[in-house]
C-alpha cells in the first residue's frame, strides 16, 4: 500500500532502520553511565578501522553468509530451516573425514573433495528433516530444532571418543594436512593476519549460484511457487515432496560452508562447538536480507562487523558492559526485521510529497 521508490525500498529504509537501532544503543550506553560517542567509535573503528579489523569482519561475515543463504533458500520454498547450526556442525564432520582420510591427495584434489564432503554431510543432515516433512508430515521447524541437539550430541561423541588422537587431552581432531587448508587472503597479499580466507570468495559464488538457481531456472521458479502457495504448486503439478527434500539438502549444503571457512580456512582441525551460533545468526541475516542473496551478503557484512566491532568495544571501552554487543545485535534485528516497516508510511508520505 505504501509503495516506495525502489532505491528507498532497498537502501534508504534499511539504513534508516539501522541508524535508529544505533541511536537507541547510544541512549542505552548513556543510561548505563558510558560514553556513547566513544562506544560507537570503538564499534566502527573496531570493525572497519584497520586491515585487521576488516579481515576479522569479513571472516565472521563469511560464515554468516553461508548460514544466511541456507535459511534464505529454504525460505523461498516456504520452509523455515532452523537447523543450519546442526547442519554446519555435521558439515564439519564431512570436511574432517575428507581432510584426514584423503589427506594423501594433492591440494588441487583434496580441497574440492573436502568442500564437497562438508556440503554432502550438511545436505544429508538437512535432507532427513526434509524427508520427514515431505513423507511423514513432521513439521520442519520442530525437526530441524531437534536435529540441532542431535548434531551436538553426535559430534561430542565422535570428537571425544573417536577423533581425538590417543594421548591428547583436548577434544579436537588431529591437525589437517597442509594440502587441506584453504589459502588465507593474507597469503594472497591482504595486509593482515586475520583468518579471512578464500571461503569468502566461495560464499560470494554461492550467493550468485543461489540467485541464478532460484530466479533463473525452472526449478527455482517451481520452488518459489511452492513457497508462495502449496495449492498453486499442486495445480501446476509440482512434486512438492521431492522439492522439499531437495531444497532442504541444498540448504544444508550451504550451511556446510561454515565448516569450510572455520575448519579449512582458519582452525585446520575439527573442534567442539566450532559453529558457535552461526546457524542462528543466519536466521537473522536471512531475515534482514529479505531472503535474497544480495541482501544476505550485505546483512552478513553488517552482522560480521557488529561481531568484530563488539569484541573490540568490550576490549577498548571497559566501562561499557559486554552485553551491549548482544543488545546491539538484538536491536538491529528488531528494527530491521520486526519493526522493518515502522518508518514506511511516514517515508512514503514524505517522498510522495517531495516527488509530487
Amino acid at each position: 500500500m505504501n509503495a516506495l521508490p525502489r532505491w528507498a525500498e532497498l537502501a534508504l529504509l534499511p539504513v534508516l532502520n539501522l541508524l535508529l537501532a544505533l541511536a537507541l544503543t547510544a541512549l542505552l550506553v548513556l543510561a548505563t553511565g558510558g560514553d556513547p560517542v566513544a562506544a560507537l567509535t570503538a564499534l566502527a573503528v573496531g570493525s572497519l578501522g584497520s586491515a585487521d579489523a576488516i579481515g576479522y569482519t569479513l571472516y565472521y561475515a563469511t560464515s554468516m553468509a553461508f548460514t544466511g543463504l541456507a535459511v534464505a533458500v529454504a525460505f523461498q520454498g516456504g520452509l523455515f530451516n532452523i537447523g543450519a547450526e546442526g547442519q554446519a556442525y555435521l558439515g564439519g564432520l564431512g570436511v574432517t573425514l575428507a581432510a584426514l582420510y584423503l589427506g594423501f591427495l594433492p591440494g588441487l584434489l583434496l580441497l574440492p573433495l573436502a568442500i564437497a564432503g562438508g556440503a554432502a554431510f550438511g545436505a544429508a543432515w538437512a535432507a532427513i528433516p526434509g524427508w520427514l516433512q515431505a513423507r511423514r508430515g513432521s513439521h520442519i521447524v520442530i525437526t530441524t530444532i531437534m536435529f540441532n541437539f542431535l548434531a551436538a550430541a553426535l559430534m561430542v561423541y565422535l570428537i571425544v571418543n573417536l577423533l581425538t588422537p590417543p594421548g591428547s587431552m583436548a577434544p579436537e581432531s588431529r591437525p589437517f594436512p597442509e594440502a587441506a587448508s584453504l589459502p588465507g587472503l593474507a597469503q594472497l597479499g591482504f595486509p593482515s593476519s586475520a583468518p579471512v580466507n578464500l571461503a569468502l570468495v566461495l560464499a560470494m559464488l554461492a550467493a550468485l549460484g543461489v540467485w541464478l538457481l532460484v530466479w533463473r531456472t525452472a526449478w527455482g521458479y517451481a520452488l518459489r511457487v511452492m513457497g508462495q502457495s502449496p495449492a498453486v504448486a499442486a495445480y501446476a503439478g509440482i512434486d512438492q515432496a521431492r522439492m522439499i527434500i531437495w531444497v532442504m539438502a541444498l540448504s544444508g549444503a550451504l550451511a556446510g560452508g561454515v565448516a569450510v571457512n572455520e575448519l579449512m580456512g582458519a582452525q585446520h582441525k575439527l573442534l567442539l562447538g566450532f559453529t558457535s551460533g552461526y546457524g542462528f545468526t543466519g536466521i537473522a541475516v536471512a531475515l534482514m536480507g529479505r531472503n535474497h542473496p544480495a541482501g544476505v551478503l550485505l546483512a552478513a557484512l553488517l552482522f560480521g562487523a557488529l561481531t568484530q566491532g563488539g569484541a573490540e568495544l568490550a576490549f577498548e571501552v571497559p566501562d561499557v558492559p559486554s552485553e551491549i554487543v548482544v543488545l546491539i545485535q538484538g536491536l538491529v534485528i528488531l528494527f530491521t526485521g520486526a519493526l522493518g516497516n515502522m518508518l514506511r508510511p511516514a517515508l512514503a508520505r514524505m517522498l510522495g510529497r517531495a516527488g509530487g
Partner: protein
C-alpha cells in the same frame, strides 16, 4: 425525530474521489450520493473501480483527493475502525469468518465486552435473537461456521455487521456464491433492512439483481461514474449499455457440433476428499472433441472434486480415466504435469487459490505449469525478457487489462485474472480443456469474451468440459448437460431439452425418470 427524518441528509455522499495505483487510475473524480434508508446498487465491469471505491469508503484505502460525508458530516476514514465507528460495515465477497468458531463466537469477535466471555456471550445471544427476529436472519448461534452452508455463512456476516451497529451495509458481489433460492432469501433480508431504515450498498455485475432489489443505481466504467438512475426508470438494456459503453449483442446461434472421437473418458470414477468422505460416487462420462459438456449442480455436490480428479490434482479412489485413448489412471505418472504434457488444459474453479501467483507478476503467472518449456530459456536459464514478451502477447491477444506483464497478479480485477489464466491454458493448444466456474466474479463484457473463447475451442475440435453453477452459462454453451447431485450424475440433457425447470429438479436430486 420525524422532522429530521424528512430532510435527512444522504447517508453517504462522496465528492470528487480520486485514487491511483501507480499507472492505474482506479477512481477518477467519482461522485456518489446514497439516500438514507435505500438500497443502492453500484454496477460496472470488473476493473471499473467499484471495489476500490468501496474500499475507500470502508477505510481500506485512502483517497488521493475528494471528500466523504456521512449523514451530512464531513469525515475522514483512515482505517476500517473509523468506518465501523461511523456505522459503515462491509460484507466481503470472501467471508471473514473463523471456520472453527461458532456463530456466536464469530459475532462477538472484536466486541467481546470485557475479559470474561460469559457476560458478553449472554448479551450477544439475546441481541442475535432480536436481530434474527427483526430482519429474518435466523441462524443457530451455536453452529460451527464450517458446518454451515454458504448462504448461512453470509447471514452470519450480515449479523456480525448489524451486531456492531451497522447503519450502512456494503455487500460486495453477495450472490456470487449463492443458489437462486439463497439469493432470494438474501434479498428478503435486504428489504427488511431497508424497512428498518438501514442503508444498503450493493456491488454487483448482475443486472437482474439490480432491477429486482435496488431503489437507485450508479454505473461505473473505467474508474468513472458514468450515470445515476432510479431503478424504476431504467432497464437492463440501458444499464448494460452504460456499463460496457456499447450495445450488447445477442449471442449468435451456435453451429451444430462437429463431433470427433472421444478424447476424455471416465468410468466408474470415485473420489474421496482429505477427510475420507466420498465426494464423487461412480461417475461415468465421455467427452468428444468438438463438443462442450456442461456439468451443472448446486455448488458442493462433487463437481469440484471431479474436475480436480480429471486434472490429476486429486487421486481418485477408484475407476478409470482415459485421455486421448490412453489410460492415465490407474497408472504411473498420474499428475497434473504429466497430463498437461498429454495436452490437457485446466482452468481451475478457484483461480485465486490455485490458478495464479498472487504475489508474483502477471508474467510469472503466465508460465505457471509450463515453467519447463524451453522457449523461455536462454543459455539454459530462464530469460525474464522472453517470459515478459510471452505474457505481453497473451495479454494482448486475450485483452487482459492493464496489459502490463510486470504488474502483480493480485492487482488485476477478477475478470482480467481469469482472462490471463484462460489465455495461458488455451494458448498451449490443449486437446481437452477442463474449465471450472469460468466467469465467477467476472463482468458482462468479460463473460462474453470468455464464452467466445470457449466456443472457439469447440469450433476448433477441442473437447471442453465446463463445470459451472451458473445455469445461464451452462445453457448458453453446453451441447450436453450432466447434472450432479451428491456425487452422482442425476441425468443427462441435451441443450435442446434443457430448461431451468428440468435442470432445477435434477439439481435438487429428483431422479430423471420422474422429471421426464
Amino acid at each position: 425525530m420525524p422532522e429530521a427524518e424528512e430532510m435527512a441528509p444522504p447517508a453517504i455522499e462522496l465528492r470528487g474521489i480520486d485514487k491511483r495505483f501507480g499507472a492505474v487510475h482506479a477512481n477518477r473524480a467519482v461522485d456518489l450520493t446514497v439516500r438514507h434508508g435505500s438500497i443502492h446498487g453500484i454496477i460496472g465491469e470488473n476493473g471499473a473501480g467499484k471495489s476500490t471505491l468501496m474500499a475507500i469508503l470502508h477505510g481500506f484505502y485512502q483517497a488521493d483527493a475528494g471528500s466523504i460525508r456521512v449523514n451530512g458530516q464531513e469525515v475522514a476514514i483512515r482505517d476500517s475502525r473509523d468506518a465501523i465507528r461511523l456505522g459503515i460495515e462491509m460484507v466481503h465477497q470472501h467471508f471473514m469468518l473463523v471456520d472453527r468458531f461458532t456463530v456466536l463466537e464469530n459475532v462477538m469477535l472484536g466486541a467481546e465486552g470485557g475479559p470474561l466471555l460469559a457476560r458478553g456471550a449472554a448479551k450477544a445471544r439475546a441481541e442475535l435473537a432480536r436481530l434474527g427476529e427483526t430482519f429474518g436472519l435466523r441462524v443457530d448461534p451455536d453452529a460451527r461456521i464450517e458446518d454451515l452452508p454458504v448462504g448461512a455463512q453470509q447471514r452470519v456476516e450480515i449479523l456480525k455487521a448489524l451486531y456492531r451497529g451497522a447503519e450502512v451495509l456494503i455487500l460486495d458481489e453477495p450472490t456470487g456464491v449463492l443458489t437462486p433460492q439463497e439469493a432470494d432469501d438474501l434479498f428478503r433480508v435486504l428489504r427488511a433492512l431497508r424497512a428498518q431504515g438501514r442503508t444498503v450498498l450493493l456491488i454487483t455485475h448482475k443486472l437482474r439483481e439490480i432491477m429486482a432489489i435496488t431503489d437507485s443505481v450508479s454505473v461505473m466504467r473505467a474508474g468513472q461514474m458514468v450515470a445515476h438512475r432510479e431503478t424504476a426508470a431504467t432497464s437492463v438494456a440501458e444499464l448494460g449499455e452504460l456499463m460496457i459503453g456499447r450495445r450488447l449483442t445477442a449471442p449468435a446461434p451456435r453451429p451444430p457440433p462437429k463431433l470427433r472421437p472421444v478424447l476424455l473418458d471416465a468410468r466408474n470414477l470415485s473420489v474421496h476428499d482429505a477427510a475420507g468422505v466420498e465426494r464423487v460416487k461412480g461417475v461415468d462420462l465421455a467427452l468428444r472433441g468438438g463438443e462442450i459438456l456442461g456439468i451443472a449442480g448446486v455448488a458442493g455436490n462433487g463437481q469440484g472434486e471431479l474436475l480436480e480428479a480429471l486434472a490429476g490434482m486429486r487421486r481418485p479412489s477408484g475407476g478409470e480415466i482415459r485421455l486421448g485413448g490412453r489410460t492415465v489412471f490407474p497408472g504411473r505418472g498420474f499428475n497434473p504435469a504429466a497430463l498437461r504434457r498429454q495436452r490437457l488444459g485446466h482452468v481451475p474453479e478457484d483461480r485465486l487459490r490455485c490458478g495464479l501467483l498472487r504475489d508474483a507478476s502477471a508474467a510469472e503467472t503466465a508460465i505457471l505449469g509450463h515453467q519447463d518449456d524451453p522457449s523461455w530459456r536462454r543459455f539454459g536459464l530462464l530469460a525474464p525478457s522472453a517470459i515478459a514478451a510471452h505474457a505481453a502477447r497473451l495479454m494482448h491477444d486475450y485483452d487482459v487489462r492493464p496489459a502490463d506483464p510486470a504488474l502483480r497478479s493480485a492487482l488485476f480485477s477478477g475478470g482480467n485474472q481469469q482472462k490471463l489464466v484462460l489465455a495461458r491454458e488455451i494458448d498451449r493448444d490443449p486437446e481437452v480443456l477442463l474449465v471450472g466456474q469460468p466467469t465467477r466474479g467476472v463482468d458482462i463484457g468479460g463473460i462474453d469474451a470468455i464464452h467466445q473463447r470457449l466456443l472457439a475451442c469447440r469450433a476448433a475440435g477441442k473437447a471442453v468440459l465446463l463445470v459451472s453453477v451458473e445455469l445461464d452459462e451452462i445453457m448458453a454453451l453446453a451441447d450436453r448437460i450432466l447434472v450432479m447431485f451428491d456425487g452422482r450424475i442425476m441425468g443427462e440433457l441435451t441443450s435442446a431439452e434443457a430448461d431451468e425447470q428440468h435442470l432445477g429438479l435434477l439439481m435438487a436430486g429428483v431422479a430423471q425418470e420422474r422429471v421426464a
